[in-house]
């Protein structure tokens, strides 16, 4: 591992200043992704600025029915919070579908959405990868693509975002609070991550030195009826092949008044499925409706061929996973 200096600032402003002043500095949260990358040589910082316990460790009521979750809250604490379990179950379920208990105790709310892709080539410094080494090429294209994107990919990068929590936060219209070299701002969660385009090295719109201080969950009544459905190669402790976060507001006659849907495992970002939501609105929630919604969302899907058989299986898998999630939400679970 390359040597690095270490700083543990005592306030947010100092943390921002430290990273902003050093081009090759990074923030450290729980370290469950960053320390792995230090070992692999994927991250080679000169300075590590520890914010693991710096930001708030509290989950507070915002007064309008929402919650403000400090970036230092652990993934476990957030999943177990009574208010989240009752009012935003999709978030608890997404968190609990990720990693394992030991990792969730270490992982922070700030670090989880900023974890980097699990693309095997990205993690292997002996291969070409535009995300890790811009301009070197993309080893995944035509390689192992089982875990790669079917939506929004570019010729530079076909990686997917691995976070389960981020898929739920996307569906819930969460808001990210940051403090950066140019001051504080809020970013709608759906705008935090970016598509790879011709600069896959940047996963998010955050500036260098911009610290996530909190994640806000706005009130969303329909989130009481929400769920997270994850499909993976093992029953537990594996990343998503495909996942669905969904919430619905149903009229008494079973018609969908409103819906929130986001997909995981399909793109470089957690994917807000606005087309699917549009199809669902005003219809009765049947399997046919669910399939039509998935079809609309995936109309522009471009599956990747690959030496492992490629990832075309994700197209029908998204449809089936969305159908299953909506069955759960209407109590038609088999």
């Amino acid at each position: 591992m390359k040597p690095f200096a270490y700083a543990r600032p005592s306030d947010v402003a100092e943390a921002v200043r430290e990273v902003a002043a050093e081009p090759n500095a990074v923030f450290l949260g729980g370290g469950t992704n960053l320390v792995d990358h230090l070992k692999l040589g994927v991250a080679r910082p000169d300075l590590v600025v520890d914010v693991r316990t710096l930001t708030s460790r509290e989950i507070t009521d915002t007064g309008d029915g929402g919650l403000l979750v400090g970036a230092a809250v652990s993934n476990s604490e957030l999943a177990a919070d009574r208010r989240v379990r009752e009012r935003w179950p999709v978030l608890t379920q997404a968190l609990l579908a990720g990693a394992n208990g030991q990792l969730r105790n270490l992982a922070t709310v700030g670090g989880n959405p900023l974890q980097r892709t699990r693309c095997v080539y990205f993690q292997d410094v002996t291969t070409a990868c535009n995300k890790r080494a811009p301009g070197s090429g993309c080893s995944a294209i035509g390689g192992y693509t089982r875990y790669h994107a079917i939506l929004g990919a570019s010729e530079q990068c076909i990686a997917t975002h691995p976070s389960d929590m981020a898929v739920a936060l996307t569906a819930l219209d969460a808001v990210v609070h940051t403090e950066g070299p140019r001051g504080a701002r809020t970013i709608p969660f759906g705008e935090l991550h970016r598509l790879p385009g011709d600069d896959p090295s940047r996963d998010t719109v955050l500036e260098h030195g911009e610290l996530v201080t909190a994640v806000e969950l706005p009130p969303l009544e329909m989130a009481r009826r929400s769920t997270y459905r994850k499909v993976r190669d093992r029953a537990s402790y594996a990343f998503a092949l495909v996942s669905v976060a969904a919430a619905v507001d149903l009229a008494d006659d079973g018609t969908v008044r409103d819906a929130r849907v986001a997909l995981g495992g399909v793109a470089h970002t957690p994917w807000r499925a606005t087309r699917a939501e549009e199809v669902l609105r005003g219809r009765r929630l049947t399997d046919d409706t669910a399939r039509a919604a998935a079809e609309a969302e995936l109309a522009d899907a471009v599956p990747q061929p690959g030496i492992d058989g490629g990832n075309a299986f994700k197209v029908p898998l998204v449809a089936r996973t969305l159908t299953a999630a909506l069955r759960i939400l209407t109590g038609r679970e088999g």
Binding site: A5, R8, L96, A99, G101, Q102, N105, Y237
Partner: protein, 176 residues
């Protein structure tokens, strides 16, 4: 370059299995390497060194956690309990006793991690924390086979002693 004029090592304090240690560590040192290489505490095992196997599980400030992805500098002041420190010298923790009763290991390499993880699981269940296997997120979780398997899924056993580990955890849970 700013940053590079700084020290690449740091002074930290750690309490491990009740004993206080004051050390100077290279900033790159993980808690796992610190315990095993510097403190001679080989109870937590190094299986994968990448967070994928659970062999390095301990209780870190009371919660189960992996040591291989935790930088020692970041955990200055921490209190660590390894499987070795769960019970007073010569005695067994109820989870350790349950592992013996159920023959819940073969080679034993994963066992210290399994045991610490199980202690964490029982504490999480006591506090009502749900898991991926919990149907009703607002009800008190039960120690069903599904629940235990899910909660222990971060501890791999290459000897595949799972069929004995799960009932051991259930017994320890019931015996509290």
């Amino acid at each position: 370059m700013p940053g590079t004029d700084r020290a690449m090592d740091a002074d930290i304090r750690l309490r491990v299995d009740g004993e206080l240690h004051e050390l100077t560590v290279d900033t790159r040192t993980t808690l796992l390497d610190l315990l095993r290489e510097r403190l001679g505490n080989t109870s937590p095992k190094k299986g994968c060194d990448h967070g994928q196997c659970g062999a390095c599980t301990v209780l870190l400030d009371g919660e189960r956690a992996l040591l291989c992805l935790a930088l020692a500098v970041s955990h200055d002041g921490a209190e660590i309990t390894t499987a070795d420190g769960l019970a007073p010298e010569g005695e067994l923790h109820p989870v350790q006793q349950a592992f013996l009763d159920h023959d819940a290991f073969q080679c034993g390499y994963c066992t210290p991690g399994q045991v610490c993880s199980a202690v964490g699981v029982l504490s999480e269940v006591d506090r009502g924390w749900p898991s991926h296997a919990t149907r009703d997120l607002t009800a008190a979780p039960e120690l069903s086979t599904d629940e235990v398997s899910e909660r222990m899924s971060g501890n791999l056993c290459r000897c595949a002693a799972y069929a004995h580990i799960t009932p051991a955890v259930q017994q320890a849970g019931g015996a509290r």
